[in-house]
Every structure is written in structure tokens, then in C-alpha cells.
């Protein structure tokens, strides 16, 4: 049964006529032309489809679109503010993290949520928070380095000033 659903994505409101059980991922990609969230497993196991909903990293491949109507949804495309990359994205470029890059949407958004909650995570906290976000190019070592780099960039302190990775 097609229904009218209102989605708020990256600050823009969209009224869509969709089957309410459709996974959010397909609506974002196919109806809203967003490319950040990607299909990786459809099982909520890999993280490629991650979006941020109300501050949570959510796997959009297993989230029915009807359950997120009206919620603030942020995708990779919505992370930059007025054309300036989020510090997490900048750290990803500075650290030259991606290989193929297909999983990096999930890596970046999961890291973003981690750092928003915990601006100075320990290595163990980084590993724990990122654990279920998979990468088949195995960029994990650089992902973790980029998270530490972004943490330093967003939490300036005299002790950390000027320290590189």
C-alpha cells in the first residue's frame, strides 16, 4: 500500500509516495538520488548503508522508511557545512584513508557519531565503536589513525597542539 511519507534529509524536507515497508536505503538512493549510503549486504552486517538519524548511526538497509518519517536524517552528502568538510572527512583526506572507498560512507559516519559522543576516544573505544563497520580493502589501520587525527582537530588543547600522526 503506497503511502505519503515525509522525510527530512540533510535539512531538506521531501514528501514521497512509497511502500512503507521499503528499506530507507532504497528511498534515499533511488528516490532522492543520494550516493553516500550504499548497498553492501541488506542485512545490517557491514555498515555501507549507514546514515545518521537523530545522532545515531543507523543501517538504512534494514530500517523501514515508515519508521523514520519526520526524523532528521543526515547522509554523507550532508556532513559538510557550507562547503567546508566535516573535520572527520578532512581527517580522512589528510590520512589518505580510502582504497576503493566503497565502505567509507559507513566508516566516516560511524566515526562521526563516535566523536560527537566521545571527542577523545581511546584506541580501545575506537575499536569497539567501529567494530561492526567492515572494510574489505582493510583500511582499518588508517581509519583508526584518521579518527585520532579528527579527535585532535576537534579538541584543541595545548598538550596536543602540533602533534601529527
Amino acid at each position: 500500500m503506497i503511502s505519503r511519507i515525509t522525510l527530512k534529509v540533510n535539512g531538506t524536507t521531501h514528501d514521497l509516495d512509497v511502500e512503507p515497508s521499503t528499506p530507507l536505503l532504497y528511498v534515499l538512493r533511488d528516490d532522492l538520488d543520494l550516493r553516500g549510503p550504499r548497498f553492501g549486504c541488506g542485512l545490517g552486517q557491514c555498515g555501507a548503508c549507514t546514515v545518521i538519524i537523530e545522532g545515531e548511526a543507523v543501517r538504512s538497509c534494514v530500517r523501514r522508511v515508515s519508521t523514520v518519517a519526520g526524523a532528521e536524517i543526515t547522509t554523507l552528502e550532508g556532513l559538510a557545512v557550507n562547503g567546508t568538510l566535516d573535520p572527520v572527512q578532512q581527517a580522512w583526506i589528510d590520512e589518505q584513508v580510502p582504497q576503493c572507498g566503497f565502505c567509507q560512507n559507513g566508516q566516516i559516519l560511524t566515526a562521526k557519531v563516535l566523536l560527537d559522543r566521545n571527542p577523545t576516544p581511546t584506541n580501545a573505544e575506537i575499536r569497539e565503536a567501529m567494530e561492526r563497520t567492515l572494510c574489505r580493502c582493510m583500511t582499518y589501520y588508517r581509519v583508526q589513525a584518521a579518527i585520532r587525527r579528527a579527535a585532535k582537530a576537534t579538541t584543541p588543547s595545548p598538550a596536543n597542539a602540533g602533534q601529527g600522526e
Binding site: F102, C103, R136, M138, V143, Q144
Partner: protein
Amino acid sequence: MTTNRSASKAVEDAPENGNATSSRRDFLKTSGFLVVGVGATSMAGPFSAIAQAPAAGQAPGPYPDLDFRKLDSWIVIRQDNTATFYVGKTDLGQGTGTAFRQVMSDELDIAYDKTSCVMGSTDVTVDQGGSGGSDALQTDGWPMRRVAAEARRVLLEMASAKFGVPVAALTVREGVISVTAEPTKTITYGELIGGGRFNVTLSGEDVNSVTGRASLKPVQELKNVGQSPPRDDIPAKVDGSLKWAVDVKLPGMVHARNVKPPVAGAKLVSIDESSVRGIPGFIRVVSKGNYVAVVCEREEQAIRAARELKVNWQNPTAASFPRSEDLFTYMRSATPTFSDKPQVVGDPDAAFAAAAKVIDADYEVPFQGHTAFGPAHATADPSNDQMTIYSNDMKSYGLRNGVAKFLQMPRDRVRVVWMDGPQAYGRTAADDAGFEAAFLAKEIGRPVRVQWSREEETAWDTKGPAYAVRMRGGLDGQGSLVALEYDARAADHNHLGYNEHDTVLIAQLAGMRRAEPARGRASVPSDKYTIPNRRMLGSVVALPLVWETPVRTGNLRDPDGPQVTFAFESFIDELAAAAEADPLEFRLHLLSAGTDDDGGFRRARSLAVIKAAAEAYGWEARPSPKPMASGDILTGRGIAYAFRSQTMVAQIAEVEVNRRTGHVWAKRLVCAHDCGLVVNPEALRRTVECGMLHSLSRALHEEVQFDTEKVTSANWSSSPTLTHADTPERIDVVLVNGDPNPERPDLPHYGAGEATCKPTLAAVANAIFDATGVRLRRVPFRDERVLAALQAAGV
């Protein structure tokens, strides 16, 4: 400027405009051509094919092959003094596009940031085979440097004519030519030729030997080579702006999902289309032989239809394969389908008979998948009696040729627009999806997007062959290795090639396959050890089901070095332990003895990487295992070495083994790596890191599991991969890169990536032995397997 992954972008946006003329114009505008104000018929270089007679409908064409003997096929210089390089390779995430810009800008003498690179689409780049074998720079770096050097030569001649002075009286710097004696007399490349054609014919028998008259610069004059400009593909991958192959949308496009046989070898009896006819957006079930797909207007509709379609399959009467836990017993008892002639040095039998100590060991590596992070996908557009396939296939030219044969279309009516995709690492199912999309598009008469499911990808992609290796070694009374036997069996019968019209999965399932399976191969180690008596043998065995099977083999990174090197370098470690020798010293001793290779070239560089790895790690010489420690966590270190072509690699792993859980953590990895001339050190470091971690994943986690009729490890839960928690605390990459022979300091660039993947499994196994005294001879080292081995040994 960038590596333009999207000659594709504008092209594939174009049909959405529904106007062929404007689409070409947009494309050319994107490419910087219209700004020079020339008409379509005078377009330079790689776009001449596109700029020819406008075709009716949405897609331009036809798409003849570009002539590799035309300089204009390779390089375009615009009026704004920027250059675009057209490279017939694909970049799978290692930064080869950036590297080509570095080597070519050096030879052309233009600033790196004034260049861009277009790669891999069959109608705008010369067929250089796409990617494979880590050979982008080793093989293709040379022709690309030569054509860039030739462009520089031609531009200097043009300036010489303009200024009326000999070329020798000119100076060129960053795309600006000046008269050396009168530095105010200058002209840019863009002013000389901007937007125009070189009209220069090159020579050379084939694309790899293509050359002009210019000579290459000596390595000392290369400025961008050896620097680490950031990879130009990364920003768009980080900000979400990149358009991937998976993102292609075309007007009228529909969505297809395959319906695979539920068990391997099942035959289609009947389809009940009424089971899905009521699904909104349902268009059609397409079937041919045992190939079945559903096509719907929307993606989620196709997913539902594939799940709900009622198909009557007839299962095979015989088992298609042994259960995965019985695989190695099966492989050892099977009659080989093919055996190589043994490689024999000396008299191994006599040497074993005279040896003071003889040891035997069996090593086992299961099937391991490519398991692409993004399941296979492709979109095909059948407009205008042509076929355009939007694909991330690493061998886009092969896909074009294969689809043309499969659909019996003229080659110049088929093109592949190459776009970024998930990691490949060899022959993935991207090949299969490309053929399926083209087949379905022709059947439906509309653009079709095919997307495999996770379970389909993990179960049905091609696998690296399983290896069972029997090793025997003989030591004399002084602990020297005097005899060695390597006897490998590889389950690699019917090893699949790339984009073959008669072996891709749809050809098999649809009954359009060739009669004869490929022979496959069983490889022997790559090492420079001097062992006076040695016998090495490889045999191939077949599983019962040869065709239409999910347990099918194809090239997976190297493509069998990790398996072979695991057995061989683990066994070298066993011999070192039997000789009570330091395993690193034992290897140096084996390497130091001979001079029978290419003037000692490989041998000297092998010694150099082993020593470099030892130094970077801080290796302490002692035999393994180390004395048993107390406590739950046991630590140890192991080394392994291998080479591929002329790239030498030595790796050291430091592990923690939890004796209570069997869990192994590779806490630290060191790789000393010599691939000759390095173009981009920072990009190379990351490629090496990730290559090692991929092999670490194969060492710790990866195994294709199956019962007698289907693959049972088909998602990330049942088919685990390396995770963040497994990541080493520290990785050191040492780029050795040099010839110890002072007579030849300037090495060419050798393939860098895949060699990295070879030694890691053995380095980890050797470290586990060092820590625990327990030798693991079966990959992967999952917790339960390690724990069982520790308990059996009383650790």
C-alpha cells in the same frame, strides 16, 4: 585537476537530457573542449570517435577501437595549458590514476596539478587491458611515459619552428617553452596546440611497445616521481560526490535480480510466474536454461519478486562437492586432472636417504572468496541497437569484447563505461553481472540494472583455489637443509578466465558454455633459497561438479601465492626449528649460498628486504619457539619472505595468542618491500598495509564452507572477515627499493601490490609457533581451531 573517473560521468548523465547533441556538448564542455571554440569535426584525440556523426536516439556511436599508434589517442593539451592523459587501465583503489599523472607529467614537463587522467572506458581510451597482475606501472608505465615524452618532443619542435631557433636552444619548464638565450620569448604548450591535434604517428608492434622518437628522462630528472601527491580520487569518495557504477540511473531503467538455483547443479523444470505477477511494478521473469531473473520497475520490488518467485528445480542425484570439512581428504585421494612435470634439482631421493633428520608436514588452505564488499552490479543500455554497459569491471575492454561475442553484436556497437566500484582483487562477479545486465537489457529492450545480493555474492563469486601441500625436508648433521620436496594439490580445475563469453556464469547456466573446462594450475614457491636437492610438483584436482557451481575458482590476488607461500615458508620455519636455528638466520643462510639467478639480482634484493624487515622490527636472533611463558597471553614473532616477478617482500608478524580462548591478534606487522622505482611512496605504503591486512584476514578468518550441495557461508556472519578489532596496533612499511649493485642504481618500477599478499599467512603461523610451540598447518586460524590445537598440545 584530477583523475577523471568519469569520462563516464557526463556521458552517462547525457541520456537523462534525452538529447544526443546536447549531451555530447556537455561532455565536451566538461572535457574542456568547447572553450577552444572548435567544432565537433575537429575534435582532438580520444574524443574523435564520440565526435563523429551524431547517432539517432540516446546513445552516440559506433565505438571503434582507438588507434594506439596515434599520439592523439593518449594526450590532449588544452588552450589553458592543461593536459589530459587517456589511460586504458582501471584504478581499483590503489591510486594508479594519480601515479600515471606523476610519471606522465614528468615526461611531458608540465606541472602535476595541471594534468588530469581519464581511465578505463572503452570508447575514449586505448585498450591497455584494464587492470590485473599489479602491472599498471610495471608494464603500462613505460608506454605512458614514452607517449608523454613524445608529446614534449613534438611541442619543442613546434616552438623551434615558431621562434626560428633549434630545439637545443630552447628550455621547457612546467608547460612553458622559452628561448634559453632570450628568456622573454616564451610560449605555452596550450598556445602551441591547445585543443588541436598532434597528428603524430607512433611506432611499435603493440600497445605495450608503442613509442615515439623521444627518449625518456633519466630517473634523476623525474621530479614528480618519488613524491606523494594526495590521491586525486579520494576527496570525491569522502564527500559523497563521486558517482559510482552502482549509482547509474538511466531514463526508463528497470531493476533486475537473479534467482539462482537453490542447490548447485539444479536444473530448471518450471516457473510459476503467477507467484509474482501481483507484485507492484513487476515486469517480467526472464529465463534461459537454468538462468532465471526477475525484472521490476523498482529495486525493492525486484528484491521481493526474486524472493517470492516459485520455481520448480530438479536437484542433481550426485553430491556436487565434498563437505568443506572433508575437502582436504577428498583432494588428497582424488585422481589429478593435470600434473605439471616435476621440477627437480640434484638427487632428492638419495639426499633424503642420507639425511640425518627428515620431517614431513601437510598444509591446507581452503577456498577463500573475493567477497566483494559491494555485491556485483552493472547497468546496461540497449538503446539504438547498441549496448553500453556501466561497470566497475577491472577489465572493461575484456567485458566489452566478451559481451559483443555473447550477444553476437559487432564490437564497435558495444562499449563499457568504466566507473568506480568495490575492491576487486582479481576475477570478481563484476564480470558476470556485466553480461547479465547486457543480456537482460537486450531481452527487455530497456536499460536494466542488475544487483546481486550479499548471499549471492558471497556464495557464487569466484574463489581462490584450495591447496593441500605435502612437504618433506631433510637436514644433515649440521642442521643444513639438503633436500626438500614440495607436492601441491590445487582444487583449481576449470579456473575461470576474465569475461569469457562461454564461461561467465550466465553462459554456464543458460547452456551456452564451452565444452572443455580450463586446466587450472598448481603453483610452486617463489624463493631464491639454495637447496642442493629439491623436487617440486603441482597437480590440479577437480570437484565432482565442474560447471554451474558456486565453488568456482578465479584469480584472487596473486593468484595463489598466499597458499603456496603459507606452506613453503611455514615449512622453512619448521626446518629452522628442527635445526635449532634462528628462523631469520636460517633463511639468510639459504639465500646467501647461491649465485644461479639473474646475476644475483633477486637474491641480493631478497637478502636486503629480509635484513630491512629485521632491522625495522628489532629482531632478536634465537630459535623458535621461545620458552613457554606463563599467563593467558603468549607472544611471539615470525618471519616469511617471497617474491613476485621482481618485487621482493619480507614480513614479520608479532602475535598475541590467548591460550584460554585460542584468539590470535597480530599486534604488529612489518613489511620490507622492494618494487624498484617507487612513484608515490605514501600511496604505496597504504597499498602494502592493506594488502598485508587482506592476507591477515585470510590467515585468521576466511574459509568458504559448504555441504554437499550448496555454499553455507554466505553472509558476513557465516563468512567472517577482518574487523577493526583485529587491526594491528602498529604497522611498519619499509620501502627498500634499490639494487645493492652500484653499477645499476636506477631500477624500473615493478608490480607492487600483489607480492605483498604472499608471505603474511606464513609470518602469522610462524609467530604463533614462536609464541606457543604449536604449529598450525591449516588456514584459517580461527579461535576454535587454535584452541583445539593448543589443548591437544597441552599448552
